[in-house]
Subunit: 261 residues, 2 copies
Amino acid sequence: MPELPDLTVYAENLAKAVVGKQADRVTFHKSGRLNVSEGELAGALAGSRVTAVERTGKQVSFRTDKGAELRVHLMLTGGFALTSAAELPRLDAPVLAITFTDGSALAVTDPKGWATVSLNPAAEAKVPDALQVSAEYLQQLCSKKPKALIKALLIDQALIGGIGNAYVDEILWQARISPKSAAGKLPPEAVASLAKAIPAVLQDAIGELRKRHPDMVSGEYREFLKVHRPDLQKSPTGAPIIKENVSSKRTYYTEEQRLYR
Amino acid sequence: MPELPDLTVYAENLAKAVVGKQADRVTFHKSGRLNVSEGELAGALAGSRVTAVERTGKQVSFRTDKGAELRVHLMLTGGFALTSAAELPRLDAPVLAITFTDGSALAVTDPKGWATVSLNPAAEAKVPDALQVSAEYLQQLCSKKPKALIKALLIDQALIGGIGNAYVDEILWQARISPKSAAGKLPPEAVASLAKAIPAVLQDAIGELRKRHPDMVSGEYREFLKVHRPDLQKSPTGAPIIKENVSSKRTYYTEEQRLYR
DNA sequence: GGCCCTAACAACGA
DNA sequence: CTCGTTGTTAGGGC
């Protein structure tokens, strides 16, 4: 569930909680997915100190003073948990658990077990983060995939990092562009308003989350979204919200959003 | 345009005309597509006698007493021509021309130049010919590609050889099965009636062509088709003919044909 | 709500 | 009316 704003706040809060701490024991539960053996993972982390926690696209990375990087993708149902070594056994659906020498603990949980954990992942082609995309880059993407629906293009993690199915609807509503528009048909003005809406919507959400849920490291909070919400009937400007599948994804939008095609 | 029935009669008539003759000069016009050099082609054929002409799927093969095989695919607009060496220069859109020692000549023509000519083509995975498909084989195909539309499955040359866009509509009407049925949803009875309709429709067409156009080696004759015809309004049993694209192909069918899905 | 793999489908060119 | 190749989409599994 979590998208860029949630993950950004998770990373901030995780950093406050664990940077500087020294890892003690590392355990991985076979329910999850790991790119190395459990022994290799424990060997690379045990005894080292966390130096940073950062978000990259939809993943959260932990770095250590021994140069290791641990990357976590929560997928649909994963979450973090800050607890103590003593309480770890009570945790539901644990995937990864790290205890620190001060007795505190960090865990990744996931009822579905789809979360992925990677130790020192191979460097990938760097995809621009959603908070960094320029109008020029967006224009390039639209020209390169002219027939793709704009919604499908924006949530493609190979093109832009961090936008998921919920916030893309917010962004498109903010820019007043229909999710079913063909990317290649967007005029420059529409691309420009989209380029503006992306960071605006995401930064606003980050602000809301920091204020409303200052300690969050898991879960979704969407009560301030403007259109992507099952309980809403109308957009803030009074237009009825249409609920429909677009590119096989549940989509909320209104007739206020212009369809280019 | 030609499909299995046309090509079958072409091959019969070509066999009557050229088997036993000795090739003299072989010329290939660069407009067409050839799997070897023109010199290689001429070298392999000149001086040898034609021993057989056969249809394989939608292709026509010529065999020689020196063990060569020449395979021709006419694509959309190609055709054969039986003429004389003297008349060859008057031929429109020639692709391949072979003169024989008795002064007669055989040519492949194609205004679009898409026809393909292959000398000793690499042996391919043998695909069952449409005249040979059993109900069991058809059932296997339907089970293996359950989501494919039945029309798309039947004209896939990698699965069954010889059925094209015109005769598939005739076959499906004969079997009273909608072209938009999902292959995997056909009950055994429908598969059985389809297995019966395929050779029935094709053999009937071969008979019609032999009778109506006893010397044909090119062109299309479709005046006896029952549904795949732009000029028809109703099927033989009086149902209005629906004209619609199915899997991006022009399709003629009626409500008499049951939709399984 | 996420991502990957595969199959089916549409568009274009030869 | 043909057959490729390519890009986009839809579905199921993890």
